[in-house]
Point group: C2
Chain length 219, copies 2
DNA sequence: ATTTATTTTTAGGTTTGTCTAAATTTATTT
DNA sequence: AAATAAATTTAGACAAACCTAAAAATAAAT
């Protein structure tokens, strides 16, 4: 099994994430994601191409090869398992763990991640609601719907927040919304797309369409 | 607070360990410990000298400065806390964890190590019996005696194995001796320094002086 | 279809941490 | 005390991963 440097792993992981949204990845996009200059991306692409990790032709957009995908999923699995550990065992808050997991995801021992997975009892979702790939790279995708598309009057559990900015977190805190919160949509106003929601004992609240589109639930 | 690279941390840690045995450290000793050539050690010493981590004059043996000591203890603390975690939470065997902890010890977050320490309930000794420095770098040294010096007929608990080679581990396994094993020395033969020991329900056994000197206990 | 703008690549340089081989210093022997 | 041996340092190189600035290719706009 080939070994990859921390830099290589970060590039591979970032390409994977960018592919989720854009299908195909450009050098500039990637340079922003890994926080380097476009020239450095070219250097790395040539190296990853030699190692058959990316499908790459000069001046063209690129994608991961099958082996590349596999490596990305392994790194993402490690990242999310560690996040789960940090929150559910060490008591971190879900918005504190990303940076730490960025380091832990590069610890190489497979025995370690295997045992950690056992210890955590094979969780399928990390504290942000993102799915954790299993040891074969399989990810459990259950259909999440945002508040703009959720059927009325039916209770659902918040599973994922798309925009995870500080501003959004502040707003969610104010409305007592977090991963796992059970709520239902009472009414949806066609005029501006805003939704009225109800959480257990709290008074009803109204969220703008912009916010509603960022809050995902599973029914 | 200054940041140090993984290489720097490894050099600092190794100097600390070598100082425990030799007071003063030579370039060759260090080069063996960090698995590089003497010339590389010189390069690193110059860098660490600039950062006021080592007391170093060209061609002379060297030691850590006070700040250097502090950093070494932080790395060692992390290493041993992770080893404790790997054995007592993830179920690794004590001879499997060193390599993994060599990677984990370089994770930088102090909040992480603080929380890990809380989670493990502030252990004072790692699975090998080595003391874990507390957050201020204090290490609990309780007087350990090897089997060659232990008073006769008094039960004691094995706390530390000096020679941790595979050969020694094999021998210990055969005699059912591990960290925590309760035993007493029945008799000591002056002729060759060998000792007769008794462990709970097992038959008495005789260990050579060479072995006895490597097994440490606390009464 | 040219021109202009954007993106990507090349060329050459820097830093970190390593190396080998030669030179220098310290230690050991005779 | 001089000669030899051992340890340490210097000098010059290399690989990885980054950079800047200029050149080349592609995309967009007139």
């Amino acid at each position: 099994m080939l070994k990859f440097s921390i830099s290589e792993e970060n590039y591979i992981k970032s390409i994977f994430h960018l592919q989720e949204m854009h299908d195909t990845v450009s050098a500039t996009m990637l340079s922003l994601a890994v926080n380097t200059k476009a020239a450095s991306v070219t250097d790395m692409l040539k190296k990853l191409h030699l190692k058959k990790i990316v499908n790459y032709r000069p001046y063209k957009n690129f994608t991961l090869t099958e082996p590349g995908n596999k490596i990305a999923l392994e790194v993402i699995r490690k990242h999310r398992l560690w996040e789960y550990f940090l929150v559910n065992k060490l008591g971190f808050k879900w918005d504190e763990v990303h940076v730490i997991a960025e380091e832990l995801e590069h610890i190489s021992s497979t025995a370690l991640i295997q045992r950690l997975d056992d210890y955590l009892e094979h969780p399928c979702f990390d504290p942000h609601g993102d799915p954790i790939p299993d040891k074969h790279g399989k990810i459990k995708t259950l259909k999440q719907t945002n508040l703009a598309g959720l059927p009325l009057k039916k209770f659902a559990a918040v599973s994922y927040i798309k925009d995870q900015s500080v501003q959004m977190l502040e707003l969610l805190k104010h409305y007592h919304i977090s991963i796992g919160t059970k709520l239902r949509v009472n009414k949806r106003f066609v005029f501006d797309g805003s939704v009225e929601i109800k959480i257990d004992k709290l008074p009803v609240a109204v969220l703008s369409e912009q916010v509603a589109k960022n809050i995902f639930c599973i029914a």
